[in-house]
Chain length 350, copies 2
């Protein structure tokens, strides 16, 4: 069980340290090796996804990532920006299936900006295609045409790309409430008309799952209006970026939300849904739970260690019930702890 | 003052009738002529934007639209679907600037799915570019390539398109709280890198307006987390479609929100932000206020009749204060009325 550990930038190293401690505390034999991705990699090598990292990641069974990016690297040319590292590793490893749960923990119900009755019990899984769409489409660029600058990008999907992510979503729905909502903009974009067509064709193979379709603008509204109507949502890379962030924010505690990005053989990259939070980096106050829960997803999806995954998830639930809170989820009446103490609490709960 | 009136589909004719009554009650001389757009136009002529409508719309100073679309026309080929009519008229009339206010009326604060303290006093203006971006980009289509279906679309903007909508947004911010947030995805899309560059250049001409930039995924989150941080937002056609619908839903009363789509000479198309609501069409229960408020925007932007605009807006506020509510905004303790009675109440308040 080889894990490539990429702490990354900002709070990445701090939160990763706790996730690694949790993994080490399980009775499982992991080989873990660290490498550089993102801004720290640019600083060290000039490349946000250096060859040494690529080699390690390719050889590993799973990649555990902290977070990348920060204002320090914003002014660099495009190829050297930290997020290029993230896009590079996703593409190179073929991590086409991004699973992003948006779960509201009962203890944290107050953190949401939505009314309690609207979000209580929220449990959505967003399945986002991650290696296609306008993210990677060619041609693209900024050129001068007719004497002025002109920017262009290409959105595209093939039916096999759509079918592949569709299957992941239907399978996921099967293990949950058997309802899948596919999101597109078929009334304007041909690419997503094809998306809708292929999803509808696929539905014939999953008669036990109820498939519905929704336009992306309506989905953005429905997530605000009545998010509990959704079980699993599946959409393309661009819409998935927007909707999965919107959905995570419904919980008010993005510091709690893990994510998985899988290839066709359950190799995966696991990372918290939140960013690198440069403003609080190095202060020991960041919430490590999303990273710890990402490690649990890794145990489940890549290593098929369902029991260990549930042990970790159970420990996280326990520390919440015990009242431990990092600053991002703190409220009066609970006990504020730092990153390390939160890690300690999870270890104790294990 | 020539107005082309397009009642459209679903509840369109009912809500339009009330807006027309309100306009007639003002001491202004309008020439109003009706035409077909959307599904009703397809039924009558096979074309969602018939030549007769185009002719009338081009000759008019302003277009007032109800709503288009409905399941009845969903199975038609792309070129005949009602939304083609909408895209067609926007493009033909060069209506590049879509202004969508998201305002929470104090009387309707409960309707929001967000906590009152998060949305009380909400007043955002979203400025969406409406005739460019991936909506109209070529090449586009669905083809068979390498033996499988392949869907593709093109996102693009020229610097003059960006500058044009940027000016509208900066000018709008000037008349409000002087804060403009430009939304893009510059870390992935070159088109929107150009968007950010041009907006930044433009800022030099508006030193009195504070410009900020935000990535679209973050904007989708921030609208949920703390929407009152925004004054004016400006973004492209695709992101604007998603974010403006998300923002309207924050108010919980999309039946109250008007919109304007303007060309370079303040000719405009005015329509409610909500859809054609086929489920309640013909029942006389739809909320006509968004259409009436769209007529008020028309008075302001196209006809420079600020006083009349304020009179209409004042009348709408008064009927809310009086407790009149259509079903979509009804709550116990208020008086439920139908479309026509709501129109009567506005006329009385005028
Ligand atoms: C950093 C950025 C390139 C990335 C994306 O847009 O995919 C991020 O927003 C995410 O969702 O993981
Ligand atoms: C009907 C559709 C083509 C349209 C759009 O996407 O622009 C609508 O959603 C809107 O926002 O006016």
């Amino acid at each position: 069980m080889k894990i490539c550990v990429l702490p990354g930038d900002g709070i990445g190293p701090e939160i990763m340290a706790e996730a690694v401690r949790v993994l080490r505390a399980l009775d499982l034999k992991f080989e873990m090796e660290e490498a550089l991705l993102g801004g720290c990699a640019v600083d060290a090598t000039g490349n946000p996804y250096p060859e040494a990292t690529s080699k390690l990641a390719r050889a590993a069974d799973a990649v555990l990532l902290g977070a990348v990016g920060g204002p320090k690297w914003d002014a660099l040319p495009r190829e050297q920006r930290p997020e290029r590292g993230l896009l590079g590793i996703r593409k190179e490893l073929g991590l086409f299936a991004n699973l992003r749960p948006a779960i509201l923990y009962p203890e944290l119900a107050n953190a949401s900006s939505l009314k309690p009755e609207i979000v209580a019990g929220l449990d959505i899984l967003i399945v986002r295609e991650l290696t296609g769409d306008i993210y990677f489409g060619q041609p693209r660029g900024i050129e001068v045409r007719d004497g002025e600058r002109y920017g262009f990008n290409t959105m595209h999907y093939t039916e096999s790309e759509i079918r592949r992510i569709g299957r992941v979503a239907f399978e996921a729905a099967r293990k949950r409430d058997r309802r899948l909502c596919s999101v597109d903009k078929m009334n304007v974009l041909e690419t997503t008309q094809l998306w809708r067509d292929v999803m509808s064709e696929l539905a014939a193979e999953y008669p036990d799952v109820e498939l519905s379709h929704m336009l992306v603008d309506n989905a953005a509204m429905q997530l605000v209006r009545a998010p509990k109507q959704f079980d699993v949502m599946v959409t393309g890379n661009m819409f998935g970026d927007i909707l999965s962030d919107e959905a995570s924010m419904l919980t008010g505690s993005i510091g709690m939300l893990p994510s998985a990005s899988l290839d066709e053989n359950n190799k995966g990259l696991y990372e918290p849904s939140h960013g690198s939070a440069p403003d609080i980096a190095g202060k020991g106050v960041a919430n490590p739970l999303a990273t710890i829960l990402s490690a649990a997803m890794m145990l489940r999806y890549t290593f098929a260690q369902e029991e260990a995954a549930q042990r970790v998830e159970g420990a996280v639930k326990k520390v919440l019930a015990q009242g431990f809170r990092t600053g991002d989820i703190f409220e009066p009446g609970t006990q504020k702890v730092g990153t390390r103490e939160m890690g300690d609490a999870v270890l104790a709960a294990l």
